[in-house]
């Protein structure tokens, strides 16, 4: 059954639909949250609370174009909000870690030229700062749209585009250096 159908059933109070949604989204939510939340138990508490609140507020929740987006947003918000409560006395910074290592599925790539290119793409992605890596993770790995990503990360569409421009700039810089040096490297 489609997410949207399950979502509507759940909003009508169907426990099975709710359970299926929890079952389906638990792992992606954990895998995402674990990249910026070091405490796995705390993360699981946050996910549980999001789902619990969802059930309690089911009458008030509207239908959503993407359940995944809704849940990612809710869990991310909860983690950052609760983490702030814990570290009240510490300096609040905008910085956080996003642990990710991008890979290229080599099965799909069999062409030598694009193989080289994809290695470059991988290196560039892995060299980006955390925030930009989170965007790339949500975009390429979770397949979310730019609008959805800006809402998940709690930033405006404009600042998301600015961040993307930054990424592309490092793409370009990297690209040029790679294009200049790589051909020579092969001969060394």
């Amino acid at each position: 059954m489609e997410d949207s159908e399950l979502w509507d059933l759940f909003r009508a109070g169907n426990q099975l639909a709710y359970t299926q949604l929890v079952n389906k989204h638990y792992k992606p939510l954990f895998n995402y949250g674990r990249r910026f939340c070091q405490d796995r138990e705390f993360l699981m508490d946050c996910i549980q609370e999001v789902f619990y609140e969802l059930w309690n507020r089911k009458e008030k929740i509207s239908s959503t174009p993407s359940v995944k987006w809704y849940l990612f947003k809710a869990v991310r918000l909860r983690i950052f909000r609760d983490q702030a409560k814990w570290t009240k006395n510490e300096e609040i910074t905008d910085e956080y870690n996003f642990l990710v290592e991008f890979n290229i599925e080599s099965k799909i790539i069999n062409d030598l030229e694009i193989n080289d290119l994809s290695v470059k793409v991988k290196n560039i992605l892995n060299a980006l700062p955390p925030r930009q890596q989170e965007i790339m993770y949500l975009r390429f790995y979770e397949g979310l749209t730019l609008n959805q990503i800006s809402e998940i990360m709690g930033i405006t569409n404009q600042s998301l585009r600015n961040l993307l421009q930054k990424s592309y700039k490092s793409f370009r810089a990297e690209w040029i250096s790679l294009l200049v040096f790589l051909p020579y490297l092969k001969f060394i």
Partner: protein
Amino acid sequence: MANYDNFEIEDFLQDDSFIDWIFHENAESNAFWTTFLSDHPEKRTLIEKARAILISINVKPHDDQLSDAEINLRVKLIQDQAFRQVPDKQAPIVKIYQRQWFKTAAVFLVFISIGFVAYQILTKQDNRITQDVLNKLVKISNTSKKSKFVQMNDGSLAVLTPGSEMEFPSTFKGKERNVYLRGEAFFEVHKDHEHPFLVHSQNMITRVLGTSFTVKAFKNAAEFKVIVNTGKVWVYDQKTKPTAEKKDVVIVLTPNQQVTYNRNVLQFKKDTLMHPLLLSKEVADKELNFTNIPFSTVISKLNVAYGIQIEYNKQKLGDLRITALLAEHPLNEKVELICRAVNAKYRFADGRIIIEEDASTNK
């Protein structure tokens, strides 16, 4: 939209509308790119290559992966929490088995159970948590202002302080006895060398064979604590599973020692208490062995020692004098022994301990 005529592969890889088309095809973008390709057939290979690269981008799984068993357990916890029956006065009472969802759910459950059992037999791995899933978890939350007395089926006891909650299987099965605690509880664990007793508080694990100790692990506290009354207790972080080679990651505590686990820096600090605990053996031998002592004194000593409030009829029983050696017995036996001494009955109700005069013998 950008001018795509001079685009190379790398330009396509940075173009948002191209990426959106690859990941979120829709009628509009399909129409655009189909037209573009028929106008620029020479770009077809480029576009196919760019597409191949985009869809091959993947992410290395995080080191910390959830097992299926763990997910099952978590889903179960969420279900339990969400569907906990809250009496609804307005709703007409329909017996649970008459409801449509129940019928559907029942059929579904049978299938899931068969699948689950088959999966278990086929894989036979990590059965610690799954066994607890099969085995209904009992959840006890103490929202009252007094400590609650909790009994487990292996004979172990816990005194759960206000604002705390714990979960444990209705029957312990498998190699380990697993208990999950949020908040503070004092445990008197029934000795069973074959089946270690594990208290999980977030990622801190307290492992014992049979002893008494207190775990303090409130969700928002920066520090967790384990304090030992009797016996030997092991404390460790679940991420550093102790093995024979890695014994040093485990903190071993003996009576009147405590360990403080700082959750921010993930470090354990061990120290010895200035004053021995009331329930440690040396003190208990003095304080909890009674010779010709009023019943009311005995009760108040127990109340202080365990942080509980035993209910009884002070007028009728308070002045009776008893002799009882209680030091070596767990709490439930202590209560039983003093009741026998004054010919009273006791019962455990909703975490409370109530002592009542035996009506039949009074007459």
